[in-house]
Subunit: 389 residues, 4 copies
């Protein structure tokens, strides 16, 4: 029951990085209401500044994901320099095929070749941006689907999706990747074109080695054993990235670890088990929607949750676990798991943070920094959209 | 297996009425995108006109529910006269406690007495409107809840809810009712203050005889046997109204009967069994969200779905069913149910409609009427909000 | 809205066959209680006789699936002859790795090589039986998994599963197939080794061309769009068979089409769309659990449900559907679907049955046949187990 | 972040008691297989002895629930003396209306008055037993329901249930209670007669003040906010008892706290908030099914889980929480919750146990006690049934 974080564990934690999304700092909400908040960024440069605050207080968030077209700027080299000045880098590029009227009935899957063309071209533009920002990953979340049985030809759409992805994939350079996200439902309410990991897997395997699956922890049917999927995708060599968040019901996009901490622990145990920790092939990102809580502290809380839970996962006594498993000792094996989970790693992590020149309590440090007061005063009329895929 | 609709059945169908919501004709969508549509009403008068089209082609939708403040007009008697000119009446008044910034952390349940006061006053204003429109029912759907464990004191909120409702209830006149809707989740993602029928029931029973439960068919946990709740609320004398719609996943707000027609059948079978059909105590309404389909035809399709399924429910041979139930004949009893469900009532209903001076095919009749083309041309810049509770 | 079953449709229906399971005629139940029924078969020969009754009254069930070891007999050629005398054939062989004490912690996935050996050998024995019975398919449903986090090493089990399956697959002759079933949960309550179609697909693809996925309609998470999976597996060329049944909650194993007829319709629409109907690669089977209803009539009802729903799926006006889809006519496309679904095909099917020398009403014909009374009297002490995977 | 358990907290923990069920020590399993275990009790006296071991090592389980008829003995005063000799008392009496052939289609709800009579008489017999054992509570879990729409008249059954319960309730003495459990589904797969807390509440309110609701933590629809129901039933004064266990999917009956520890924490937080802790009106019990794990250690683990989580719930800084709630500080309020949850109370509890003459590590102490080895050797042929309601 020791809380001792060994040098090996601390070494692993030191390497850990969690990408934060630019859109986390904009306004977001539900279909019923988007509550505005003071200090909302007015442009992408300000979003990067907010993200840099998360990294400054935690040392955990060195890169920022961008969303195109929301984060289109005239001069990406200026944006890149701005980020680097603030100690962060530009990361994954996310495409958007759900906010144009043209995409009402699909984008990469649309019956109409002209609309598919437009959607493919949008992705090619995203790759142009990647070339400028130095980003490795193009992440595709498809909002496409249908609301009523019969509305769409699911099979034809699946075939067209593959064709569209092939054209996009062909445009990637050798050090770039395509990461395809799946989602159980929403905004489509009958069928979704990439609804499960199996579909994403089958689609990316047909593309090539640099096509991977993105696992968003909120995009599964009720009751799904998510750590099993983590295990399977790592085993199949296709786990490209995580979109972390948490949920009680549907895609609630709450702070990672908030709804079911033990599930996050189990996921990270499988990540470690399968060699996915600090593995460049497996990117850790947040994708959340801060509807009612403060946004920058929400992101700080989130990366800390990932860090704390990773520490617990690393504490797991794998030798004892394997022994109990081999012996068919159900309660013994479970006890080894629970011992790691229930260990309070927070004091040791606070000490370790201080030893690295970081605040022991990043939440308190941010609150004391005056940053929020400053942006509340300075940024008038900011309404940069965010959302919560 | 007869499709014969007896005079008794036709008599019941003739009395049937399904209230349509004013907000069905405005734009609605998801948190990701609201797709605009041509012909969107520019004011409440135009929404009433659209609703009247539904009734004109079906004879099924004689009343229109209003939403306050969306449908506030300077002169409700003018609105009332406008409606009556078009052959419909103003119906249920729906309150709104989810679109003001003040309500971020609650309305009738809020910790702050001033915000509760504001929310109560809003409902008193709604009752003022009811007095002017001649509406009987005040329907309250509470979007209130919390997103994170600890965020709110659920117990205190429950007590405050009761106090707030008592004050509202006290203002009703003797022929008016309060109808309290429950919803499993959304927009709150951890706890909802009225999440299930039990809570709504416990709350309204404490108010008095004219407080009832509203059952929205999309507001339940996965797998819930909704017809059981219909049965129970009828048994307890507290089923005040239905909000009809359908869903595959969460509160998808699809067209009633579209996702699971057999469920709609079972619900209507229990309505008939429990004396809820054409019973003034049990109001039938639609509450849907036409995100991708045409709105007026969507409403026509919906009221027809209710009518057709009611006809099937009335076809049920209750004597044969009771006999098989008494005999423990599982397959026999189920066969009696399925026989009614699988009977194609559509041709007989088409004939009967014609005999009453209504179009045999209301969908085709609306399409041929030229109304849609007219409003598409006339209404420029309409953006009356709708949504999908 | 015509109910006309064209010669083309009738031709397709004439070819249709639904395999019935030998275990449907034995006793089955829940963990709480297995209710015995009169007439329970005392051996495999009597199960075949019961299955033959289903075929005799419907012409739809020409083959019977066997379960090893439940259906082990000394002389399979005698069983084969017995079946053929009754007008049916022996079909799929189902293995059993869940009823031995050894398998408490796994079979094909077990940590202990000796237990894996035993489980593999059991499958080799099943293939021996297949050689004798002339069966094509070896169906593997794995009950394996764990109840507590930490109890099992999911990743190691997945690798061992692949090794075990490879050995089994290697033993198949060139005209035999391995069909791997997946199941969301139960009897394991934390992790299941083949929980979803993606896992089954990834496992069988690694085996070879004659390894396929079995889709049991009751083995999915709540809300899963099953017809999407049907579409996808057909597209990927790996849909080996259906286990038909229905459910409201978990793996309830109710009569196919009983819980959600419209879902069965949508599944069959995708089967037809994807070329899976009367395609020898895609076997139709029942796998149900008649806990409270009569067993032989339960099977008759089931194959009729599949037939009736197939007729409706064949009625679908695919040209009109495709036109509406291309036009983005959501309501129009859905109307084409619903028109086929709501068409009452039962009278036409009854006529057609009679024209082929079959009873118009197979349920009534069976009831009138005296068979049930005969077996109730003759079979004393029958307790052949059944269950409901 | 202190782990300091104050004297007040320890005082509360000292009073805590969790009733254990006699059937936890018998064999249990799924419909697919019941795995036997060595040491299975051969009669009720041996079950009591096993239960006493749980109490001896934990000081937490002073009473044992009995199940009639499984635990019927000729001389209950001898059983009572046996229990008291071992330091425990006989507790709640559980009735059984699901294992007789007569009850296939219902018991207290059956259409046939003779079968209702039998079921009522069984409950009257249970009350006779209560008089002999000195038990306060009669707990009724009804397995009743139906598998197919139409099979049963849900409304008639609800009325008959009320009549049956009234007769049973009338037989209780003034210090006895009736506790009615609800369950979402299983063993019935379409409708269940008491499926939700609302139904149980409505039924018991009609009986009288000594009729209460039993909340089994595994008996809800996916996603249900159970702590909300705890809050509501405490508010309404009708939370009679808990049946603790945990689940990932359906009524999995796993060890309490094993599947979602944070949920157990939230439940206990509401128990404390609502005055339910160490309140004689609110009985804490286990109802679990040890299918693959050792049974006595499984029970020890379970009561410890309840104790540890109660300690965390008592650590909650309610003043700080209320302050953050009033301030609308979402992240601050959540942080107060999480701080209590993440505090490692295990070392302090181990010390405290020792100070009271109990083993610091009850699991290890039991393993070292030799009891299991003794019963494995002594008890040959034990097959006392258990199950997992």
């Amino acid at each position: 029951m020791s809380t001792q974080l060994t040098p090996e564990i601390l070494g692993a934690l030191e390497q850990q990085a969690v990408e934060v999304p630019s859109w986390a700092y904009g306004n977001s909400g539900t279909r019923f209401k988007v509550f505005g908040t003071p200090g909302t960024p007015r442009d992408t440069f300000e979003k990067i500044a907010d993200a840099a605050e998360v990294n400054r207080h935690t040392g955990l968030a060195p890169t920022v994901a961008l969303h195109i077209p929301w984060d289109l700027v005239d001069d990406f080299s200026a944006l890149r320099a701005h980020a680097e000045d603030l100690g962060v880098r530009l990361g994954t590029i996310n495409s958007n095929t759900f906010q144009d009227d043209d995409y009402k009935f699909g984008a990469l899957t649309h019956e109409d070749a002209a609309i598919r063309r437009k959607a493919i071209d949008h992705h090619l533009q995203c790759i142009d941006v990647m070339d400028e920002t130095g980003s490795r990953d193009l992440k595709i979340w498809l909002a496409e689907g249908s609301n009523y049985p019969g509305q769409a030809d699911m099979r034809g759409r699946q075939d067209r999706l593959q064709e569209s992805l092939q054209e996009i994939y062909a445009r990637l350079s050798a050090d770039q990747r395509l990461v395809l996200e799946y989602k159980f439902f929403e905004p489509a309410f009958y069928h979704t074109d990439v609804p499960d990991w199996g579909t994403s897997y089958a689609q990316v395997v047909s593309l090539g080695d640099r096509a991977m699956v993105c696992l968003d922890t909120g995009h599964h049917a009720p009751g799904t054993n998510i750590e099993f999927i983590v295990m399977q995708l790592l085993r199949l060599g296709r786990l490209g990235s995580f979109d972390f968040n948490s949920r009680f019901y549907a895609d609630d996009d709450l702070i990672v670890g908030a709804a079911d901490p033990f599930q996050l622990f189990r996921i990270l145990v499988e990540v470690v088990r399968g060699g996915g920790l600090n593995n460049p092939d497996v990117a850790f990102m947040l994708d959340q929607c801060h509807n009612v809580e403060e946004k920058i502290p929400g992101q700080i809380r989130s990366v800390l949750n990932v860090q704390e839970m990773t520490a617990r996962a690393l504490l797991l006594d794998r030798e004892a676990l394997a022994g109990a498993q081999r012996a068919g000792d159900v309660l013994g094996a479970n006890a080894v798991m629970m011992d790691a989970f229930y260990t309070d790693v927070r004091p040791a992590l606070a000490e370790w943070r201080e030893s690295r020149g970081l605040p022991a309590d990043p939440m308190a440090a941010y609150a004391a920094s005056g940053y929020q007061q400053r942006i509340n005063a300075d940024r008038v009329g900011g309404d940069q959209a965010g959302w919560g895929a």
